[in-house]
Structure formats: structure tokens, C-alpha cells
């Protein structure tokens, strides 16, 4: 299903790659464990006249069967940790140079997106405010300043593999770089009251010309 | 009084059952107060401006109450000493003195709070005062609970029954004292 969902940001593929890494490593253990488990149940089912073995678990040659996989699980964990730190650092900790900055404000139960106008700067007269519509240009790096007015919200764009809670009183910076054009869902992924289910927005990713046209069309008259 | 089950009389750890339970109870209290005071300390260090509010707490009330609690702890331990040597009546008297300490503490506290509230420093005045009333209030509830239980223990001790409980309520009371020993600098002295 995750393949069905498009990868519309520069790091979406990294997140999916990590998911696949975890799936392979943990899936390996999962299937081995289940196979051994059902195998043992079948092999040692009760048969008339056959008594169970007396095993304490301290026997060296048997104990290996626990301690060896035990060590291997640890090794797998280390691979996952490395992969995960990589992805996490890239998405949440570092900030690549921004082409544009948008301010995203969550409130019960709508998103307000403050786009920079044609001057490319926030908090100037030509800023474009849009409710529940985020318009971005493909292949440009965006920083977002995430804020909330009342309660917790969470800015989530599944096709970007991006999610970040918005907190009242705080301003959280993050980034994304769209790589596909199209129109996708923006969700609120933190329960925010009775209208939580209504708090949907759309992100419109257009090419340079399309975006410029939208900016011109929507720039407020001075 | 119902008969005690055999289970209560056993002591596989070597610590009498009642005392073992009190230690576990204290551990659970440590984390309750720890969570509250930890939250307070984190906020306090992040908000230097709270020192401004803390100026309005009255160190002398706090110091006097510390004195009261230390004294009541002293009488509690004397009660334990008396109970150990089997002097139930003497233990009960010392416990009564300890309860008197608790009552004094609460009286001083109520005077102090009345003055503060009348000056507008209510629980909603700012978050420092919220912590101040919550922490001291939670501690005050423990004082009240301790004093009530102590009344029952003292009544039993007077009749020479359940003398081991004198020590148990004593340990609890020392803990209440300990919490105040830390609340005093946190709320009153550090300004």
C-alpha cells in the first residue's frame, strides 16, 4: 500500500527505504520465530507413552539457541538505529538552505497558510493567506514555521512522509522539498476537538509557471 | 478486630510486613512529590522572573513551620522509643504531641495562606503561585492524613495494642517532614 502512495518529497524515498530495511530485518526474525514456534508445536505434540524431556535451560549446547539469536537481534538493532538516525537527522535536525518560507498555523479546525508573495519574503504586505490550501512550487526547498493558536495540531502530509505537531506557544521549523506536481491531502494528525475530522487541507504542487500564476492571481491589492 | 491471616505474620525478607509496606508506600510517595517538584524545578529554572513572585512568600512562616515539623518528628521518634519498650500510654502521649504539631502546622499554614490570598496572590495569580499552592496543598493533605491515622494508632497504643504501628506511622511522619524540608528552600528561601 505504501507503494501506492506517491513519494512527493525529496526524502519520501528515504523514509520508505528505512521502512523496507526494518521490514526485512524484523520480518526475517519474525518468520524464523514463527516457523520454529509452529515447528516445535508440531514436532513435540503429545504422543501416547512418550514422556517430555527434562531440560533446565542451563545446558550449554541448548543455551546457544537462545544466546546466539539474542546477539544477532542486537546486531540488527544497530543497523536499524543507523538507518533511522540518518533519516531522522535529514528530516528533523538539519535545515537545508531555503528557497521560500511559509508559515503554517493550526487552529480549531482549520489550517492557515501564510505564503510569501512575489517578493519571496514572509511578513510583508504581499503575503498571501489561504485557509486549508497550501500552494507550493515543485523542486524548491521550503521551510515552514509551524504554530498553533489553541490546542495541539499535527501538520501531516502523507505523500511527503512528513509529520510534525504544532504547539501553541511554540514555533517549530521544518523543511520539505516537493518533487511531484499534483494535489494531495494535508491532515491534522493530533486530536484537536470535535472538529478534528474536518480539519483537512490540500496541498497544491505546481510547476514554476503555474505557481507564478497563482501568486499573481492571489496577491492582495495594496 | 478480625483475626490476622497467617500471611501477615510471615516475614521472608526479614523486614516486618507492615514496615516493608510502608517503605513501598514511601517509594510511591517519592515519585508523586518527585514528579510535582521536578516539574516545578524545571519551570523555575526556565523562568527567572518567578523570583519576583517568590519574594512575596514569607520565610518566617516557612521557617516556623519547619521548626514545628522537626519538633513533631522528634516527638514521633520518642513515641517509637516508648512503644519499643512496651510503654503504650507514653507512646500515645508522644503521638498526641505530634498531632499537636500537625495542628499547629496547619493553623500557621492557614494564617499564611489567608494573608497571601488577601494580597491577591491566589492560585491563579501566576504559575509560580499555582505550584506554590499545589505543592504545599498536597503536602498539607499528607499532614492531615498522617494526623488522622496517628489518632487511631495512638488510641490503640493507649490500650497497649498494635504497638508496632507506632513505628510505622512515625516513618510516614518523618517522610512528611522530609518533603517539607525540601519544600521550604524550594518555595521560601530560593528567591
Amino acid at each position: 500500500m505504501i507503494e501506492m502512495l506517491q513519494q512527493a518529497s525529496s526524502y519520501a524515498a528515504d523514509v520508505d527505504g528505512l521502512v523496507i530495511l526494518v521490514a526485512v530485518l524484523s520480518g526475517f526474525w519474525f518468520f524464523i520465530a514463527q516457523a520454529v514456534f509452529f515447528g516445535l508445536i508440531f514436532r513435540y505434540r503429545a504422543k501416547p507413552g512418550k514422556k517430555s524431556k527434562y531440560v533446565t535451560g542451563r545446558e550449554k549446547h541448548l543455551n546457544r539457541w537462545i544466546s546466539f539469536p539474542h546477539g544477532l537481534v542486537l546486531v540488527c538493532d544497530i543497523f536499524i538505529i543507523i538507518g533511522s538516525v540518518n533519516v531522522w537527522y535529514n528530516i528533523k535536525q538539519q535545515l537545508p538552505e531555503a528557497d521560500r518560507v511559509v508559515r503554517i498555523t493550526g487552529q480549531q479546525w482549520a489550517w492557515t497558510f501564510q505564503h510569501p508573495g512575489s517578493d519571496g519574503e514572509l511578513d510583508t504586505g504581499d503575503d498571501i493567506y489561504a485557509v486549508d490550501e497550501l500552494h507550493v512550487e515543485v523542486d524548491k526547498t521550503y521551510h515552514f514555521l509551524l504554530e498553533a493558536r489553541d490546542v495541539l495540531h499535527s501538520f501531516s502530509v502523507p505523500v511527503f512522509r512528513l509529520k510534525q505537531d504544532a504547539l501553541p506557544g511554540r514555533s517549530i521549523t521544518g523543511w520539505f522539498r516537493p518533487t511531484l506536481t499534483g494535489e494531495f491531502d494535508v491532515q491534522c494528525a493530533e486530536i484537536c476537538g470535535i472538529g478534528h475530522g474536518l480539519m483537512a487541507a490540500r496541498i497544491f504542487i505546481t510547476d514554476e509557471a503555474g505557481h507564478a500564476a497563482w501568486v499573481t492571481q492571489n496577491t492582495p491589492n495594496p | 478486630m478480625s483475626v490476622k491471616p497467617i500471611a501477615t505474620t510471615r516475614s521472608a525478607t526479614g523486614i516486618p510486613t507492615g514496615r516493608l509496606a510502608v517503605w513501598w508506600l514511601l517509594a510511591s510517595e517519592v515519585v508523586i512529590f518527585g514528579g510535582l517538584l521536578g516539574s516545578y524545578i524545571m519551570h523555575r529554572m526556565g523562568h527567572p522572573e518567578w523570583a519576583e513572585a517568590a519574594v512575596h512568600t514569607n520565610t518566617w512562616f516557612g521557617a516556623f513551620n519547619t521548626f514545628v515539623l522537626l519538633t513533631s518528628s522528634f516527638t514521633a521518634v520518642l513515641a517509637h522509643q516508648a512503644a519499643e519498650s512496651g510503654q503504650g500510654k507514653k507512646a500515645a502521649k508522644y503521638l498526641l504531641l505530634t498531632m499537636g504539631g500537625a495542628l499547629t502546622f496547619l493553623l500557621v499554614k492557614s494564617v499564611e495562606w489567608t494573608i497571601e490570598i488577601s494580597h491577591g496572590y491566589t492560585i491563579t495569580a501566576n504559575t509560580f503561585w499555582s505550584f506554590y499552592y499545589t505543592a504545599a496543598g498536597l503536602h498539607g493533605l499528607h499532614v492531615i492524613a498522617g494526623a488522622i491515622i496517628m489518632g487511631f494508632v495512638a488510641a490503640d497504643a493507649w490500650r497497649g495494642e498494635e504497638l508496632q504501628r507506632v513505628e510505622l506511622i512515625g516513618i510516614y511522619w518523618h517522610f512528611v517532614d522530609l518533603v517539607w524540608i525540601f519544600l521550604f528552600p524550594l518555595l521560601y528561601i530560593a528567591k
Binding site: Q107 | V31, G34, M42, M45, G46, H47, E84, H174
Partner: protein, 219 residues
């Protein structure tokens, strides 16, 4: 285990009182670090005296010591884990604007006037305008024209109280019911939430009056 530990309780008690005097005297020197050391250092010493001598932990089995040490260590762990977010007001890619503001405000207050940091809200007075702007305006707009930020997204759109046509079919009772029990109660949109749990009857009337003031009769 023996119960015959001969502690001189009176001596411990006198020590505790002496330490109390020192910790109260500490702040009079007026140096912050001295205050903190006398306050918290002495608290630890006092606590130790009480624990060891009054609670008899010195003679107790190791188990009890471990129980208490574990609970204390866990609290240290909790503070260590939470402090980067709660104690600090900025970090990697985030800043706690509200807390920083509160600090600034507090510092300003300090210079402006001594006692002004105590803002006591007047009890009993219901601020209908304030509540409208806080709650209703999100959808209905602060100009009451149904153009609130959240309202733009809704279908059907929130009612426009400035529209005279709206008031032709409405009376105060209906508006009140709608506020109290939600849009469904008057056959309107389910997206109008019931707010009755928030306001008592008089407050509802005040809100209705304010809403009514946008309509033709109010002008």
C-alpha cells in the same frame, strides 16, 4: 535485626534546629550562590539526618534502601528526559515563544511596578464579546459575516449574522437553542457544535444579545 539502636534523638534534633537556623540565615548574606548552597545543601544534610536516625534506615535491610534509591533515581531520570523540552525555551529548530515572552514580560513588570504581576480577573462578569471572538469568531468571523478562518472550509457555510435575510427566519430562542444544543437541534448544519456545557443560561442570553447586535435590529 535488632531494635536496640541507641541513638541520642535529642542530639539529632538539636542538630536539625541548628541547621534550620543556618538555612534561614543564609539569604541574609545576599549572595545567590551562598543562599542556594545553604538552602539545598542543608536540606540534603537535614534529610539525611532524619532518614538515618529517625527513620532508622541505617539499621534497615538493604532492600528498603534500594527501594528508596530507585524511586529517587527515577525522578532524576524523569527530569533529565523532560528538561530539554520543559526547562529550556529553545532548541534545535524550535523556540518556545510563549515562555520566552513570559520571561520578558516578567522582567518588564519588575521594572515597571512592583505589584502589577498579580492580575486578578474580575469574577462574575461574563465577557460575551470576548467569548464570541474566542469561540464563535473562528468560524463565524469576528465581523460575524460567516467568514472566519475555519468557517471558510465548512460546507454548509457558517451563518452570516450580518445578513438581514438570516434574521427574518430567526428569533432569540432559536439562536439560543442553536448555541446550546448545536445546529442539529434547530435543523441546521451538524457542524455547528453544541456549546451548552460551557455557558449557563444567563451567559447564553448575553451571547444571543451580542449575536443579535449584528443583525438589522441591532443597528
Amino acid at each position: 535485626m535488632s531494635d536496640n539502636h541507641h541513638v541520642n534523638y535529642k542530639r539529632v534534633y538539636l542538630w536539625l534546629l541548628a541547621l534550620l537556623v543556618v538555612s534561614v540565615a543564609g539569604p541574609f548574606i545576599g549572595i545567590l550562590s551562598v543562599t542556594l548552597i545553604t538552602a539545598f545543601g542543608i536540606a540534603v544534610v537535614k534529610a539525611n539526618l532524619v532518614i538515618q536516625n529517625f527513620m532508622h534506615l541505617r539499621w534497615e535491610k538493604t532492600l528498603a534502601k534500594w527501594v528508596l534509591i530507585t524511586s529517587l533515581a527515577l525522578m532524576a531520570l524523569f527530569v533529565a528526559g523532560a528538561a530539554p523540552d520543559v526547562m529550556r525555551h529553545e532548541g534545535q529548530n524550535w523556540v518556545n515563544v510563549a515562555a520566552a515572552d513570559a520571561v520578558d514580560r516578567g522582567v518588564v513588570d519588575e521594572h515597571a511596578e512592583e505589584e502589577t504581576d498579580v492580575a486578578v480577573a474580575e469574577p462574575g462578569v461574563f465577557d460575551a464579546v470576548g467569548q464570541f471572538n474566542l469561540i464563535c469568531a473562528m468560524c463565524h468571523g469576528s465581523a460575524s459575516d460567516g467568514m472566519g478562518a475555519a468557517g471558510l472550509a465548512l460546507d454548509p457555510r457558517p451563518a452570516d449574522f450580518t445578513d438581514p435575510a438570516f434574521w427574518e427566519t430567526r428569533d432569540d430562542q432559536r439562536v439560543k437553542t442553536a448555541i446550546r444544543d448545536g445546529g442539529v437541534a434547530v435543523g441546521a448544519s451538524a457542524l455547528m457544535a453544541p456549546w451548552g456545557a460551557l455557558y449557563d443560561d444567563a451567559q447564553l442570553d448575553a451571547l444571543v444579545e451580542y449575536v443579535r447586535s449584528f443583525g438589522p435590529t441591532g443597528q
